[in-house]
Symmetry: D3
Subunit: 174 residues, 6 copies
């Protein structure tokens, strides 16, 4: 669902290679990280970047960064973006090239390319290793699995639906 370039830098510098940008995927987006794993000089400095590219219609599905606030700058395209507060209020906006949006620390958020062309953003984080937890796969594709009854109650669905979601979100075999 999510393609990450395995790009390794050194010291204070990183070059993101030209990752193949046109592999078809179910949820069509691609993220490149520039955190302390790729740029060792970031250690103890508490900041990192990422670049995300979206195919037309591509969704970076609802997720959280447990250890950082994120703010994005739209390089190109048109994105519908939003986060949900602890009071279940959705704060959202459609943003275009040159626009900025903020996703506060730890809150569920998403971005969707709502234009008919590719879109891309640069993300700045106030953490050298923000972490990413994708809501749907954390619950329906965890290993070992989250028990069905937990998910049935949480989402108020029956076992059949839970199994269907689990099947669809399971990591692809190779």
């Amino acid at each position: 669902m999510q393609g990450r370039c395995r790009c390794h830098g050194s010291g204070f510098h990183l070059r993101w290679p030209g990752c193949a940008s046109s592999h078809q995927q179910l949820v069509w987006f691609k993220r490149n990280d520039a955190n302390v794993m790729q740029v060792p000089g970031l250690n103890t400095l508490g900041v990192s970047l990422a670049r995300i590219d979206y195919a037309p219609g591509g969704l970076n599905p609802p997720h959280t960064h447990p250890r950082a606030t994120e703010t994005i700058f739209t390089l190109e395209g048109e994105l519908f973006v939003g986060f949900i507060t602890t009071a279940d209020k959705l704060i959202s906006k459609t943003i275009k090239e040159g626009e900025i949006f903020v996703f506060p620390r730890g809150l569920v958020h998403f971005q969707k390319n709502v234009g008919d062309k590719p879109a891309s953003v640069i993300s700045g984080f106030n953490g050298q290793l923000p972490g990413t937890q994708v809501v749907a796969t954390s619950l329906f594709a965890a290993s070992p699995p989250v028990p069905d009854d937990v998910l049935e109650i949480a989402f108020q669905v029956d076992a059949k639906v839970v199994d269907e979601i689990k099947a669809n979100l399971a990591p692809k075999k190779k």
Copy 2:
């Protein structure tokens, strides 16, 4: 789904009243907070407590605290508890009276009463206002709503399932 006592303290002290503890609810659990909203003296001190009571089978559904790590102490009963890492690994355990478990900052976690008696825990947080974001309602009961297509792609379900979940999780009218 979740009953909270509206209990107000002052200064450095709080008394949680005897909240009616036997109201039937879909997801049967009850949380009492002792954070800076109830105990003003906690301001700037960066710590808070909560108490959670679970009916037999009761679930505190998957949620995150965007601004704190939580550690629980089991007062009574038998709980299946777990959190999911950013690598979608479930770390879980069945714990009983006198046992402790940790939920790291920002990660999705849950507790379920798997015994046949009531269960309860005390939670300690390293934040005076940790915040709670319930995964399912944040996505399916937000206001304004998260668009259906975002949820359909994220959970790989069709519109009918999304609508069903939304209907079931909608805040109850009074």
Copy 3:
């Protein structure tokens, strides 16, 4: 004076064993810790718990936690608890089951069981290793000893009283 269980957990979980709870001691109380020494998964997470049990009349004598604020929840019994501000003002209260009290970071505080039954509390700290410094033993039972003249001037007593306190607070030989 203070009995601690040597209980070791692993990862994110800890079970406090049934420490013998009825050993007679001069100051009758018992503390079980759940900090990073017992629960390695707490490392870098900045939170910990403890449980304290008090015999009737038992005192957790005046002490400080140099690296954390503490907040307690009363499991059972009746405790007179308090802390002293830097302006030498005592903030205190008698608390019972279900009540909460806060001891701000670094300030001298104490709890005393003023009921006729055992009492117990759960403590939450915003530090993974809060540390405990018991005022009386830090001054009168240190090794090497704090010089008598320092204590005589500080407490405005003569050498005889200092020696008496030192003798009474000295660690018991085995």
Copy 4:
């Protein structure tokens, strides 16, 4: 020397208007900020962004951010960038589109467009108001002025040179 757009956003969103991008200046570069002054929702969140555009040959002259580490992503062009350590070691590199570089908190750094086309970067900061102190103007164009003898000794030049630099760096009258 430096043109900033006065762009005001609200809440969690900001749109940088199309600042006139072709005004000739001595040091030809332009910075747009997205910090807490433009995006109020960043308050307490500890992160911000900026965009910098450089004409061919344009220099963002040596400066520091007293309250943040900066990491830049090159949108287009070719930049010679560097920072100087507290041991007076220059860490530098020529970077192109898609490359990243880090400027640790508080250290003097600069970027120069060494290509023959415009260049631009996105900066991420781990501070909501990083501040910028331009070395040359802070010393030679301060108000009230830094005394000449301080600058003569610091740079080991005579009064004539100090006065020449002060004249050249003085804020332009309107």
Copy 5:
């Protein structure tokens, strides 16, 4: 017991006036603070200074700073200084002009002039308002008073000794 100059500065500057330095006191020392109360510009900057002068034999009695580590530089004289760890170990040294000693955050410590001339130190703190809690007066001169039985058990003395200490440490009437 402790004489403090009431000196008020403004902005980023403070002048400590020539406090009368020869008033006889039981515990003969005098402290001048330069924290955020006297130097408003220190607000949010997290640092402060103090100067302490000691008569021959003068003691700065055992105390803690709940919100800062302290490190002292000896201006003149000869001081016996020490702090006590949470394991009741005394770390101490006799220091003279030009020597430095560290008192870690929150731990009980003291300084005593052991020479036959006045002594003085400059203290640096990593807090803009470190706070000072004098152990003996916090326990024996608090208002309202700490109950006698708490002190009797803590120090293992009888009521007569507690009352004697309380009488000696009581704030002087004017």
Copy 6:
């Protein structure tokens, strides 16, 4: 330009030896540090001290501490001290024995002995390793060198002046 004593302490204590105090130097001042490099016990404690001695006319040239705020106490003499804000405003004052001044984190600042006798200060920092970056040498004596054109544009001088400054500030051969 700057003489530092190589003084090594251990644990929580340090003695600054009687550094030869009368070596003639271009910029006549001398700094002794008491940070975590000399006093290992300061590790994780976030505080340090320094002593600076100035000959008559001696200048501690414009510099920054990238990781700490500094506050100084004047031991003797008369100093003109100042820092420059991010708005290029000079905040300065002439201070004498017993006076205090604050240099906020990361901002360019300096001290100059404007009396006809030696002067000295004690500095307190809220960092165990504040770091020092001298503005002039960081730019004109870096290794490898900062390119001439960067300096020519930044200071608005021609190559001859840049070369002259570089020659004068170059580390002395031995």
